[in-house]
Symmetry: C2
Subunit: 369 residues, 2 copies
Amino acid sequence: VSGEREASGVAGVPSPVRLSGDGRTVHILDQTLLPALETILDLGSPAGVAEAIRALRVRGAPAIGISAAYAVAIGFAPEESGLPTRVDREWARGRFQELATLLAGTRPTAVNLRWALDRMGRALETALGDPADPTAADLHRVLVAEARAIHGEDARACSAIGRLGSDLLPRPTDRGELRVMTICNAGALATGGIGTALAPVYHRHARGEPVAVLAPETRPLLQGARLTAWELSRAGVPVTVLTDSAVGAAMALGRVDVVVVGADRIAANGDVANKIGTYPLSVLAATHDIPFYVAAPTSTFDPDCPSGGEIPIEERSGEEVRPSPDPSAPGAGPTVWNPAFDVTPRERVTAYITEVGIARSPEELGGEP
Amino acid sequence: VSGEREASGVAGVPSPVRLSGDGRTVHILDQTLLPALETILDLGSPAGVAEAIRALRVRGAPAIGISAAYAVAIGFAPEESGLPTRVDREWARGRFQELATLLAGTRPTAVNLRWALDRMGRALETALGDPADPTAADLHRVLVAEARAIHGEDARACSAIGRLGSDLLPRPTDRGELRVMTICNAGALATGGIGTALAPVYHRHARGEPVAVLAPETRPLLQGARLTAWELSRAGVPVTVLTDSAVGAAMALGRVDVVVVGADRIAANGDVANKIGTYPLSVLAATHDIPFYVAAPTSTFDPDCPSGGEIPIEERSGEEVRPSPDPSAPGAGPTVWNPAFDVTPRERVTAYITEVGIARSPEELGGEP
């Protein structure tokens, strides 16, 4: 644990993940401790980063993609990997496979994780394709550069999403504040930049246009109440926390102008896997004629996944939900069902806000993604 | 605190409230301590009962109506009220007004509270209308009898709701279990009998017909995870707890056959105030062609309230929702909006299950309610 931190792009909010200057240590803000404690973990091994992803110390689809890329990079630091000075190509490929398997196995739903690992693998192959045998230091340098590129591109994608989304979101006709409902945390803490769903909010706020956020607390782990409320308060954006059950009343009472959510994976047909509770938001938004936007970088689009039905949905431990047990309960007592994500069908999405443009469907984004 | 308890009508589940044999003490199961501790409070004053209602030690619209009636009764026990042997009618009316004001002010939304107080007031007036001056003991006896009658009628209403609801609910064609989603706790712990929403479940279970319940945890106070899961487990009914956000995924994945909820007040036009989160359930149920039933005794219908817009919705303290505060947060940090109820419009209700019959609208129930 060190005090080292780096701005996320939002004043007052540290970056959730960064790589040390020497490419040997991943610094992760432990989000399980927020808002009570602001602790940066210094992780010197890929296994440490994998544990941090699995335990949600770092979370958010873009941020875990970046973290996995950094984990691969530090896994090729000569001391860490035990690489010889001149590289055996098969050894390097084996090492990468081992790291990719470790990291891909941490969480199944966010496609950014696999996407980042694929990019790291391609960068490694390019380096290994050089007719001159690369040195271990060469490979490390290439992989560090690629991981930093992934991080930098995500930061730029967030900024573009903020700019495009800010133009897209409604403007209150009465010059009052725009009231944005989100879910979970798709802000600076979830990305390499200023966030996805919250990026348009920060953009409006930076231009002095009044904006306020409604943050459902997001059970069971309270990413809304703990993280979204924290980072928006740090940034000076007014935020109101409500229970996940109160989202319907908020809309029915006219307290919501627009819903903007992030995504963990968007299938080829446009179906969106995102934090559990997103699907109810989309249905309620449609009932109340409130626009429902999904903000995500193109790295979250998975052209290999035909529809939402094929997206693997992580089910987490019932212990996250279970209240203090009743010692006198006979038999097994209640079971718990704790899916971490749900699927919002494409027809519920008003538009996708990406770094390459606003689209009514993934097809509109063109060949890439 | 005593060990005294009385069956609720559901084996293994104590009654949430009862009156001592001498009509001087109200025994309340402290539901804020469940499931960890099963504690019965012995309350000898109306103010103690009012505190228990306000703090949700006893909750559920029918149960708080019964509790308020018992509080009035013990408020007329000679030692408690300081009543003279021969009664001054104006003194008695003043005493009742004082008690009714205290009790009606505890919680605003459930109409059963006001309904029970009105009945107690009418019983008092009848007694005072006797040409022979009543004694203090006479008044106490009359009010104890009326409060017990309210309790007994509620128990019978629950049984009738169970029988009628059990006939109404779907029967799985594959002879598998019927999967009932509810919200909060509208079971034995919320009533003077076997519950409202859970009464049909207990009825099916008692007949050996397989039934299972999906219980959203019901933030912020977890009445689903703490109370519904507890009482159903005690009764041997399979129950699965899920987060309030997971109700949409459960329906989309085909895990729900029917939704049955209780009510805190049903307006003259059929709009239903019930635990926050009920309205989203109703919208999602309609989206998935799942029947949505409201189970409530006629004492929950308020003919004086034209529509849901006129039902007062209790907003409770933000402290119930707020996570551990961030000591380093600048300024005020996030605000919290914590409504305890929402309003489900009549058109979302497939039918009302009452003790006098199944109705598509309050009008169908006839002149009474």
